[in-house]
Symmetry: C2
Subunit: 313 residues, 2 copies
């Protein structure tokens, strides 16, 4: 692997880790939201893992231990949503300090609440002592015999859609930080209780979505990742901004968990019809996919890779 430079960003680190692992990587694994695993005696599972670290991903001064557990499970489930999979089970690795105030149990209560809302049983877990709070959640899902929707399937001419306005989580965090714990209403909830778009993901898959990703690190960054994986460009005309959010928060704020998808023009009506019949809000059209991989435009202007990446190395 060689000597890494200090402070690789997350995407660079993932590429280096792929190198370290060599050929032992499952289909779609480490280059998509989730991997697909064949089960020896039949069937397949879509699997993904995601971590929440206190002080990095979450701030216990603006959310409760139960919020941390909720966010950890929903963040992992959002990766299944982005593949068009529905969850069949989760495993939770909880590392927590000996706080004496029920921190670990509080986190697990939030996990349980999110699991009930998402219809995803927690089938296994592990608790360890640590100095900082960390929750890693592995989720398993199924596409019921279909094919998962990869990041890499977008083609020139496809329409780009998003399931809803973005920036709500970042705006809520900003409000929470200025107001302190206990902010009621939709803003606090967008940060503390995000919901994975599982139903939308399944409808997008069944409706012919060609590529999909969830907005976990920022709409712009995640859209660039989809375009990178597909070897395409994009021309966007608009970005829908969540109520209370700034344009910058909509472009670069993470943890919205809206789904961004590409779909061939001919499949657009069918997909929209599916969303409508499922009682889901109509997806918002952002623009189109183009053949030039270097073209990444919003309103005719270059769109930066706005979003959040871990610095590791």
């Amino acid at each position: 692997v060689g000597s890494p430079k200090p402070g690789l960003d997350e995407d660079e680190m993932v590429e280096r880790i792929r190198g370290a692992l060599g050929g032992g990587i499952g289909s779609l694994g480490l280059r998509d939201d989730a991997a697909s695993v064949e089960v020896p005696d039949g069937g397949s599972l879509v699997v993904s893992v995601d971590s929440v670290v206190e002080g990095v991903h979450v701030d216990l001064s603006v959310c409760s231990p139960a919020d941390v557990g909720w966010k950890a499970l929903m963040g992992a489930l959002s990766d299944l949503a982005a593949m068009g999979a529905r969850p069949v089970g989760a495993l939770v690795a909880l590392c927590a300090p000996r706080s004496g105030d029920g921190l670990a149990l509080g986190v697990m209560e939030g996990v349980a609440e999110a699991a009930a809302v998402a219809g995803c049983p927690v089938v296994g877990g592990d608790v360890s002592q640590s100095r900082e709070l960390m929750v890693s959640v592995t989720v398993m899902g199924t596409v019921d015999g279909g094919q998962p929707v990869a990041r890499s399937g977008a083609r020139a001419g496809d329409v780009v859609l998003v399931t809803g306005p973005c920036g709500g989580s970042a705006a809520a965090l900003r409000e929470l930080r200025s107001a302190g714990l206990g902010v009621a209403g939709p803003l606090g909830a967008a940060y503390r209780r995000p919901v994975a778009r599982l139903a939308a993901g399944v409808e997008a898959r069944l409706g012919g979505g060609s590529a999909m990703i969830d907005v976990s690190d920022g709409l712009a960054l995640d859209l660039h990742r989809l375009a990178d994986a597909s070897g395409v460009g994009f021309r966007l005309t608009t970005i829908p901004v969540a109520e209370g959010a700034t344009f910058e928060e909509a472009v670069g704020g993470g943890e919205d968990y809206e789904l961004v998808m590409a779909v061939a023009e001919r499949d657009l009506d069918g997909l929209s019809g599916r969303f409508s019949r499922a009682g889901l809000a109509a997806p918002v059209r952002l623009g189109v996919i183009t053949a030039d991989v270097g073209e990444r435009l919003l309103g005719g202007v270059e769109l930066g890779r706005h979003g959040w990446q871990h610095q590791i190395g």
Copy 2:
């Protein structure tokens, strides 16, 4: 769930977490080494998650980043071994500080080495920034249409066996701490490069093992857990001590990853024959399972719950 007392031990915490999760727990989950999950379009998987935290489970002054990765994967795989499952894939959640010296990559190289030895592809992963190093590994395995071996199946009259002498990892850690990094030979390896007894686990399952657990926290503690789950007692006559280890290290030292199993007397010859034909060392007879759940004897003397439990809460 109510207000927990400070500093629950790991087993108490798991029971409380079971309460928080209510009925949403898969078969065998949270009360055994691994859980069994039905795959919607056929088959089933045995799944487990395990974490390694620097400064708690491992000490970077006596092992390398690659050792940490190796230990994390093998520790998780040992839970599959204890069910009699063979691995089909792993997911790795890595939380690491921005150290600039390749810590995260080093860990993943060790994961890759262990994955190659165990024949377990790494199918997914996640890297996050954190202040302390933490590696959580989820493993998936199969019993190829058979039944996993639970902790709870031991019956009075069964023979208790262990796959090999214990205390080697604890002895190696003691030697490493006194000698510093770089100790060669079997002692260093027992701590830094333990190997999950996957082949022994499969043979024990096929040979009719009635209950099984891996020695991760201490032979005595893990044997008590097996007896608790089965509602039985035990009368041991001997404990095999690894070369270089003390008797105390053999009884209470963790991370040996030997397998402790119960087997009906009538199945003992068949099981031993399987081990022999598979080229595995003959398992060592520790004693017998008894009907009295309160009887927990070694050489006629009460055996304490020696071993290591996290303090969390």
